[in-house]
């Protein structure tokens, strides 16, 4: 079996970005880029998008309405209690609980969504292409099988021309 992944290792943010740009100019598909910290330019170039904010908004609206509904149900329908003649549906004083619980609901549901979408679970095995990617190296991974041998070799050449300090070939099939 041929080598599955071609990996370019970079020392700097600048060379990494330049390399991504030239790979994209030649229409060579990038499998993924691994960096020790978030680089917005890279995320932008790879056209990574997250729908998490939209999900958060939906959770928030649903959460706020459910909390208000719950307060209305308990205080007006299920067991109304007269506190010195105040109205059962004392909306202004429900706002405090609604705000705080909405924040809690959004936090917890967004975390779960994040966990599912970013595939992060307790005990999840990390697929590590190069263990320096969380330390001081920036890594571009090219799926060599998908691209075919010639294109992958060209990608390797472009990466080393644009400043990669190392080009590695790895087969992670057995690890997955």
């Amino acid at each position: 079996m041929s080598t599955k992944y071609k990996i370019g290792v970079f020392d700097e943010e600048k060379t990494l970005v330049a390399s991504i740009k030239s790979l994209q100019e030649r229409n060579l598909a990038i499998f993924d880029v691994f960096t020790p910290y978030p680089i917005h330019e890279v995320l932008h170039l790879l056209k990574r998008k997250s729908k998490l904010p939209t999900a958060g908004l939906i959770y928030g609206i649903t959460g706020a309405l459910s909390v208000l509904a719950f307060l209305y149900y308990t205080s007006v329908l299920d067991w109304p209690i007269d506190y010195g003649g105040k109205p059962f549906n004392s909306f202004p004083s429900f706002i405090v609980i609604t705000i705080v619980l909405t924040i809690l609901i959004v936090t917890i549901t967004s975390l779960f969504t994040f966990s599912v979408r970013a595939r992060l679970f307790p005990g999840q095995e990390a697929v590590i292409f190069d263990d320096r990617a969380t330390d001081d190296k920036f890594i571009i991974v090219i799926d060599a099988e998908l691209l075919g041998g010639d294109a992958a070799n060209e990608a390797g050449r472009i990466m080393s021309e644009s400043g990669a300090v190392e080009i590695l070939e790895k087969d992670l099939a057995e690890k997955k």
């Binding site: 600048k14 910290y37 978030p38 680089i39 995320l43 307790p122 005990g123």
Partner: protein, 453 residues
Amino acid sequence: MYNRSIRGPLVEGNKTYGQISSDIMAPIDARPGMWWYLTMAIASVAALFGFYAIYMTVAKGIGTWGLNNSVGWGWEIINFVWWIGIGHAGTAFSIFLLILRQRWRTSINRAAEAMTVVAVGCAALFPALHMGRVWLAFFIFPYPNTRGPLWVNFNSPLFWDFIAISAYLLISFSFWYMGMLPDFATIRDKTTSKIKKAVYGFFSMGWTGGSHQWIRFESLSFILGGIAAVLVVSVHSIVSTDFAVGVIPGWHTTLFPPYFVVGAIFSGFAMVMTMMVVVRKVYKLNDYITDNHMDAIARILTFISLIMGTAYATEVFMAWYSGNEYEMFTFFRNRVTGEYSVQFWGMVICNAIIPQLFWFKKIRKSTWGLLLISLAINLGMWFERFNIVVTSLANDFLPSNWVSYSPTIIEIGIYVGTIGLFVVGVLLFFRYIPMIAISEVKGVLNIGSKIDD
């Protein structure tokens, strides 16, 4: 924007990315020094004293405390409010400064969040114990029950408080933990110890640093930061309404929510400063927690101190201006002069006057200056809560009800115990968790430098 030519680099010493990882990981890999064990031992003894006091409270009841019919809230509520105030450091640092795009927060936010989680945990102990029968504390959860179902009073600030503090604890913990995922992965990939690799590998939940993870990580911190910013304001506002809805003179005022919130951020920042002054010395992290960081905190404290001074003056002024004789009595005969004047003036001096020394650059640069002033603020904030809780209750409308209050050894024990627990928690944090957010510091390494332009 951060102007490097004016404010200096965020990270000093021309670090490389690799050096950042190893410098911050060093305390986790190295054996802790003698001071660590010694502090741990003292803190553990204090915590054990606390456990004894809690045991006595639970076994014998609240009668072991010095409370009486007039002073129904004593040290427990003072310390509860004090700890919650300190617990505002995390939200203030991580979230407030995050949404204000203050990049200098990066090397301090992790420790501030850790402090928040521990401090809020300590705070939560007090209301739980104050319920008297702790084993029935679950009654406060609004769940369908066999007692009616009788629901809790959703209009009561005391219930709001319960909701606010539980939510605050959960949210700060989530935010803190999520931020640590990339750093746990760094330790997993860099460590040579097999045990550490397995443990931190488990806690890193499979983090790789791929672009599909970073984009969601960034989105999530944006969402959590955005919505949790409300908590900076809401948690202590709710605590203040515990007082402000009472008709007791000195409590019944609309000033309370902003006054409490600002006070909470004040004590939170002061505690962060106390901790950071010590930590950067013992762990030699001066390159990351630079003099400029301390300077920035000191400037914020100076500003907040002015707000506190204004709030104190406003309270006293309103007592006179309102023409209410009970307010007049509470403030002028009971606080400014009289039995509790020591606490009142202690509060004014520690919170409003001493921090003004930060106007001098020499004091902002001096380790002792920073440490002593931040400790003075912590003390002053304790006086403030004493002043609010006890002075109003001890001498209220009816002179026949007037009593004095002093804490029993059990009450002191619980307080000392929480301080012990706090120190134990913070020490464990420094030992096992990267105390500075590694990935965030790497991100700001070149901020405003030539490489960035």
